[in-house]
Each structure stands twice: as structure tokens, then as C-alpha cells.
């Protein structure tokens, strides 16, 4: 329960400054290399106890956090909602207090309710990292998207369009905040049924036709069409969605520029994205996954009170 330059928790990118975001990205750079070593472990978080509390199913984010924690030598416990006290009716606040009573240092939480991470952070002393709360934010995903774009082009002035189910997407919100703060031009594209009310007031352009978005953008961040959240029938069919809004090779071939393609996963191939695009030369989808571990190491390190200027030396000499 320490507080470094970022404060106690990472709940979202909305309330971080551009400097804080750059600090995390810059801190992630030296951590990238650890994952390339034969022995992928440094003692930076040795003795720290971290609970990964996942109330919603997750593979990529949970595993990425676990690798980040293990590569920094933290002790970790995973709690999934199914089969835990949560499924026996325990409230979130009681779950949190019980975990804290075991003297943990950090909680990484994924939860289906917007605001759940803040709710937890306000009630426990441990550091809280939001691994996705409802439709609100998924800050480490936003950060790894920023890092991936930055690996290929400067973020400032770059035109990034977020495509698809923005309404239900925490990834979209974290991307919008992070990109705007770092000076990108940001747009969203999708059927109006999947765009939240007032989104343009955040300072983003709105495209209702994918062709216009592709014409405009240098980077496309293609969101998953969240089939499990289609409670209200926001689109008539998956087939029509692909036909009208799918990011296809044919649509990309219409523009002379090479668009960078991101996707937070898990992908629905042939729904929001054409396999030939996902697997194509301009897709950085797997780079995102690789960067995810480094970004999460940086966040864990900084929240634990690690000094950013020491990140390079903290990781020690590469194993030979």
C-alpha cells in the first residue's frame, strides 16, 4: 500500500495527466526487454502480495497481469468469481475487506460494473489496478494501445479511429482519454446504436460509415462486437454488421496509405474484422499483447513506489 508518483491506484486514464501517461509508457520501455530474456524474472516486487480478482471471465488480461507480476517476482493469488465467496452472495466490499485482512499489497480487479474499481479503491488501503470495470475504463489496455502506436509512429497529430461497439466498450473510453491527452486526433465509427450519447463532446469526430473512417484515419483500433452484451439488439445481424461495418481488405485497399490495425481482442473474425486484415502486414495485434506485459509491469512498478528513473537499473543486467 504505497503510493508512487501515480498515486495509490490506477482506475482510468481520464484523470491522469499527459505526463503521467508518458511516464508509464517510458517506464514500460526498459521492461519490454525482460520478457525477451531466457530467465524472465527480476526482483523488483519481491515480497509484494498481489490478488488478481476477476469477476468476469478474462484470459488475455488476467494472464498478462500474472506474467507481469511473476516477472517482477511478486507473490500472486488468483480469485475468480465462480466458485468463490462471491458466488455465495458476499458483497464486493466484504470480499475486499477480507482480502485486505490477509495483508495484501495490491488488487488487480476486473468487474462487470462501471465504477467497481473506484468503489474498491475508496474502501481499501491496498493499491487497486482496474483491469476493466463495466463499460467505464480499461486503463492498461489503453496504455498498451498507446505504447503499440508509439512504437510505429508519433502519437501527437496521428489520426486514430476507434471502430465498432463504442457504447459498451471500456477499451474505447480509455483509448479516447489517452490518445487525446497525448495529442492524437481521435474519431469513433460505428452505427449510431453503438455510439454513446454525447461522445462528440469529448472532442472526438464521429463517422457513421466505415469507408469515411478509413479515408480519414492512419490507425484503426477495431473493437470486438460484444455479442454477450447485445441485450437490446443494437444491430440486426452479425452478417449485416460485417457487410456494412467490417474492416475488410477490400475497404483498406481503397486508400493509398497503410493503416496500422489494432484490436484489443478477443477477435470475432469475419464479424468486425477480416482475417486477411487481422493477419496482414499492418496488423500489430500481437505486438499489443506483447506490450501488454511490459505496460503492466510498469504500472505495478510505479504503483509500488518504484522510481521511474531507476527502472533500467532495477531490472538488473540481462542474463547471459
Amino acid at each position: 500500500m504505497s503510493a508512487g508518483r501515480l498515486g495509490k491506484d490506477l482506475l482510468g486514464l481520464e484523470h491522469l495527466s499527459a505526463d503521467d501517461i508518458r511516464l508509464i509508457l517510458d517506464t514500460a520501455e526498459p521492461f519490454k526487454e525482460i520478457s525477451e530474456r531466457a530467465i524472465k524474472k527480476v526482483p523488483v516486487l519481491r515480497g509484494k502480495t498481489i490478488v488478481n480478482l476477476f469477476f468476469e471471465p478474462s484470459t488475455r488480461t488476467r494472464v498478462s497481469f500474472e506474467f507481469a507480476e511473476h516477472r517482477l517476482s511478486a507473490d500472486t493469488v488468483n480469485v475468480a468469481a465462480a466458485g468463490s465467496s462471491v458466488s455465495k452472495g458476499e458483497t464486493l466490499v466484504d470480499t475486499a475487506r477480507n482480502l485486505e485482512a490477509m495483508r495484501i499489497d495490491m488488487v488487480v480487479m476486473r468487474h462487470g460494473s462501471s465504477g467497481a474499481a473506484k468503489f474498491l479503491a475508496d474502501r481499501i488501503k491496498s493499491n487497486v489496478i482496474n483491469a476493466g470495470d463495466g463499460k467505464h475504463e480499461h486503463p492498461t489496455q489503453g496504455l498498451l494501445d498507446l505504447l503499440t502506436i508509439r512504437d510505429h509512429r508519433p502519437i501527437e497529430g496521428t489520426r486514430v479511429c476507434i471502430v465498432g461497439d463504442v457504447l459498451h466498450s471500456r477499451v474505447a473510453r480509455s483509448n479516447i482519454w489517452g490518445l487525446l491527452k497525448l495529442g492524437a486526433e481521435v474519431a469513433v465509427c460505428g452505427p449510431q446504436t453503438l455510439l454513446p450519447m454525447g461522445i462528440e463532446q469529448l472532442g472526438v469526430k464521429v463517422f457513421r460509415r466505415i469507408e469515411e473512417a478509413i479515408e480519414w484515419a492512419a490507425v484503426l483500433n477495431v473493437l470486438r462486437l460484444q455479442l454477450e452484451r447485445m441485450e437490446g439488439g443494437y444491430v440486426p445481424s452479425v452478417r449485416e454488421y460485417y457487410r456494412v461495418f467490417g474492416v475488410t481488405l477490400e475497404r483498406l485497399e481503397h486508400v493509398p496509405r497503410e493503416l496500422l490495425i489494432l484490436h484489443p481482442g478477443p477477435m470475432n473474425r469475419g464479424v468486425e474484422i477480416d482475417s486477411r486484415v487481422a493477419d496482414g502486414p499492418h496488423s500489430v495485434i500481437l505486438n499489443q499483447v506483447t506490450n501488454g506485459v511490459a505496460v503492466r509491469m510498469a504500472v505495478l512498478y510505479l504503483l509500488a513506489g518504484g522510481r521511474p528513473e531507476l527502472a533500467e537499473s532495477a531490472k538488473g543486467a540481462p542474463e547471459r
Binding site: 481520464e14 458483497t91 464486493l92 466490499v93 468487474h111 460494473s113 462501471s114 465504477g115 467497481a116 473506484k118 468503489f119 470495470d133 463495466g134 463499460k135 467505464h136 475504463e137 471500456r170 473510453r173 454513446p196 450519447m197 454525447g198 461522445i199 463532446q201 469529448l202 441485450e231 437490446g232
Partner: protein, 432 residues
């Protein structure tokens, strides 16, 4: 019962257009005289109320007293005690109890519990439909005979246009208003706050203004068709105000209420996932608040009603989308109204008393809202200049779910008299 002489106050009685310095004499549970410089009587308790307003006791058309069913969060006795603490001498109890107040026995239970409590008068509102299921009409005649003063499926809307039509028509035989909670549930489903920029930022599913406006439009058409008395509960949107104003202008029998929280707050209060700012209808935006205030000032909206909705601490101590809708309101209504509306230049004190007392009494045809000689001795004495700080721990209500904790408010209830007996006397240690 000792007579009470209320001496030295400013008497505001909108029913007679009185706003003047006068004394008020209460004998045998009735108002017997309102006049400057009444002669003291040896047997009377004298209340010196210099600096205070003396008005007919407030009437709340919309409260959830939770009994039967949720006596852990409120009972008729605690709700009626909270009411008099807020200056309310008459309170209408909404029927979404468990079991639902949809039959004469249930109405009779509420009446007898209220009589036993002996605080504010409690008038039950019966359900429009059996079990509030939106299918079969409840027995309005028997409900009214047992003491109900209106019908509503509050908590949800009257389910279909046909049911609303028949309710408005059938209610004509009993002279009672049909009170609708105007919400198109297909538009509001899953929503937990107003749909707008704040809900977009917080990632919460929004409830659009149209969810209210669609049903207000439907109900106004049906009131016009049937000649029935429609009362729109807790109006929250600028669109609803405009439609009600236009309907009144063409002679539709519609009345409307607004809550103190919709007059005082916007959706910004939900920032930080503040569950005490979660209510239904949701807090809207500044243009809506402005329209509600204007509607109250020009009489489009007839009265202020609290929508007092007690909830357990644990229920609000949750993730925002899991927390229930509603806030308590009986004990903060006057303070909010004076601070926001009177001191804010929206209403005169006399207009405020009309909105809190005389008009709601007229809407539900209650023997209240007046200090005319012979009227029940239901009186509130409040100091409009006294300042106090909202401290939920001091509420008489069993519940504490308010977004106004810590707010400094003007307007303190000093005495509340029901039927000629003092039911509440302010503990002045709360005032600053």
C-alpha cells in the same frame, strides 16, 4: 387537549391569500381564529414564534413508507415521525409495498398503523392494478372506501395505454387522481442514470429523457380523451414540463409534482459513482432543472413532493448499477426549497407554501392546506432565515440515503402541529 396560541409570526395561508403578521388560535383540534393580536387565554399554551412563518402543514403526495414489507428501512411510524420533522402534517403513502396496497384490507392496515403512530396523517394511495402487475384494475371503490385518496402503480408506469385509459375513466366515479410514474420501460431498461455526457464518461447505461416524455405524452392524450384526472409524479424533463403546460392551456385535467432533488441537482451529482444520487427518474441536466423551476413558478407544476424512498445502508453501499433507486426527502424538503427556490428567486415564500401545502391538498382532495377557521389544526411553524447542516445521523427516518449530507440549508421547521397537538419541536442544537 390544551388550546395553542401561536403568537407573533407571519401567517401565510394561500387558501385565503393571507400573508400578514397575525396570531393563530387552535382549540379542540381546529383552527378557531387567525387575527392580529389575539387576546391571550389563560388555558392556552403560547408559542412565541417571532421571526417565523406560520403556515398550513405541508402535504406530501408522494412518499414510500415501506410498511408492510420493508420495516427494516422504514415503518409508517418512523416515516410519519420524519414527516412532522420536515413540517409535513399529511403524507400520501405509495402502494408499492409488500404485499402491494391493492385491496381494502391493505389500505385499512396503513390507516390503522398511522393512527397508532399518531404523528403525520397518512393517506394511502392504492394500486392501479392488482399486484401492480399492469393487468387487472384494482377495486378503486373499495380502496377509496377504506381510505385511499388516489391510485398509482408507482415504482413503475401504468403498464399499457389501455389500462391507463380505463383507470382514468373508472377513477371518475370516485373523484380521485390517477398518479402515473411516467417511464417507458423499454427505453429505460438497464439504465441507472440520465443518458448524457456524464453517463457516457462513467460508462453507465443511460435513461433518456424520452423514456419519460413518451409516457407523459401518452397519458396527456388519454386524460384529454377521458376527462379523467391525471397526476404526473416526479416530473424530471424540460419536455414533460412543456407538454404539461400546453395540455393545461387547452384544458386537460392534469396536475404535476416535482421533487426537491430534481430541483436542486443535476446528473453531475452521480460523479464518482455516488449511489445516493441514483434515483428514478434520474437527475437530469441544467436546462431541465431550469425548466422545472420555471414550471413550478408559473403553476405548470402544481406541487413539490418528496418521493421519500428509504433504502438500507447496505443497499446503497454497492456498485452503482446494483444499488437501488431513491433518496429520503421528508426532512430536507423545506430546507432545499427555501435555499434553492426562495433564496434563489424562483418562488416567494407564499408561493412555496402553496406548492408544499395548499395545492397538493387540492390535488388529492385532502382536508388540509388551509388555516380557515374550522379547518383541522395542522400547522407548521418554520424559521426561513435559520441555517442548519444536514446530518443524516439525526434523521428521524430509519434510513440515511441522501445526497445532501453536509449541505448547509436555510429554513428550519420549529414546530409541527397535527390536529391541535404538537408533534414535532425543533432541537435547536442542529441550527447554526
Amino acid at each position: 387537549m390544551r388550546p395553542i396560541l401561536i403568537r407573533g409570526g407571519r401567517v401565510i395561508d394561500p387558501s385565503s391569500g393571507t400573508d400578514a403578521a397575525a396570531d393563530v388560535l387552535l382549540v379542540d383540534g381546529k383552527v378557531t381564529a387567525v387575527s392580529p393580536k389575539l387576546a391571550p387565554r389563560g388555558d392556552a399554551e403560547v408559542l412565541d414564534v417571532t421571526g417565523c412563518v406560520v403556515a398550513p402543514g405541508f402535504v406530501d403526495l408522494h412518499a414510500h413508507l415501506r410498511e408492510p414489507g420493508r420495516e427494516d428501512v422504514e415503518t409508517i411510524a418512523t416515516g410519519a415521525r420524519a414527516a412532522v420533522a420536515g413540517g409535513f402534517t399529511s403524507v400520501c403513502a405509495m402502494p408499492n409495498t409488500d404485499p402491494v396496497t391493492d385491496n381494502q384490507a391493505a389500505v385499512g392496515f396503513i390507516v390503522s398503523q398511522a393512527r397508532r403512530a399518531g404523528m403525520a396523517r397518512v393517506y394511502p394511495i392504492g394500486a392501479v392494478s392488482l399486484g401492480q402487475k399492469g393487468e387487472q384494475l384494482a377495486e378503486f371503490g373499495e380502496l377509496v372506501a377504506a381510505g385511499a385518496v388516489g391510485v398509482s402503480d408507482d415504482g413503475r408506469p401504468v403498464a399499457t395505454a389501455h389500462l391507463m385509459r380505463t383507470a382514468l375513466e373508472y377513477a371518475l366515479s370516485f373523484g380521485i387522481p390517477v398518479i402515473d410514474h411516467c417511464e417507458d420501460v423499454s427505453l429505460s431498461a438497464g439504465g441507472s442514470m440520465h443518458e448524457g455526457l456524464v453517463s457516457t464518461r462513467l460508462g453507465l447505461k443511460g435513461i433518456p429523457r424520452a423514456a419519460e416524455d413518451v409516457i407523459v405524452a401518452r397519458d396527456l392524450q388519454l386524460a384529454e380523451l377521458t376527462g379523467g384526472h391525471l397526476h404526473c409524479a416526479h416530473v424530471s424533463t424540460a419536455g414533460a414540463v412543456a407538454m404539461i403546460r400546453a395540455a393545461k392551456a387547452r384544458g386537460v385535467r392534469v396536475t404535476a409534482e416535482v421533487t426537491p432533488h430534481h430541483l436542486a441537482l443535476t446528473d453531475v451529482a452521480c460523479e464518482g459513482y455516488e449511489t445516493n444520487a441514483k434515483m428514478n427518474p434520474p437527475l437530469r441536466e441544467l436546462p431541465d432543472v431550469a425548466a422545472l423551476r420555471a414550471g413550478l413558478a408559473d403553476g405548470t407544476i402544481d406541487c413539490i413532493a418528496t418521493d421519500h424512498a428509504p433504502h438500507h445502508y447496505d443497499a446503497k453501499e454497492q456498485e452503482f448499477d446494483n444499488a437501488p433507486f431513491g433518496v429520503v426527502g421528508l426532512e430536507t424538503a423545506l430546507g432545499l426549497a427555501i435555499t434553492e427556490l426562495v433564496n434563489g428567486g424562483v418562488l416567494s415564500l407564499a408561493a412555496l407554501v402553496r406548492c408544499l401545502s395548499t395545492r397538493p391538498a387540492e390535488v388529492a382532495h385532502l382536508p388540509a392546506g388551509t388555516l380557515a377557521p374550522g379547518a383541522p389544526a395542522d400547522v407548521v411553524v418554520f424559521d426561513p432565515a435559520a441555517q442548519w447542516t444536514v446530518d443524516p445521523a439525526r434523521f428521524f427516518s430509519k434510513s440515511r440515503n441522501t445526497p445532501f449530507a453536509g449541505r448547509k440549508l436555510f429554513g428550519l421547521v420549529r414546530w409541527t402541529i397535527v390536529g391541535g397537538a404538537i408533534a414535532h419541536r425543533a432541537d435547536l442544537s442542529a441550527a447554526t
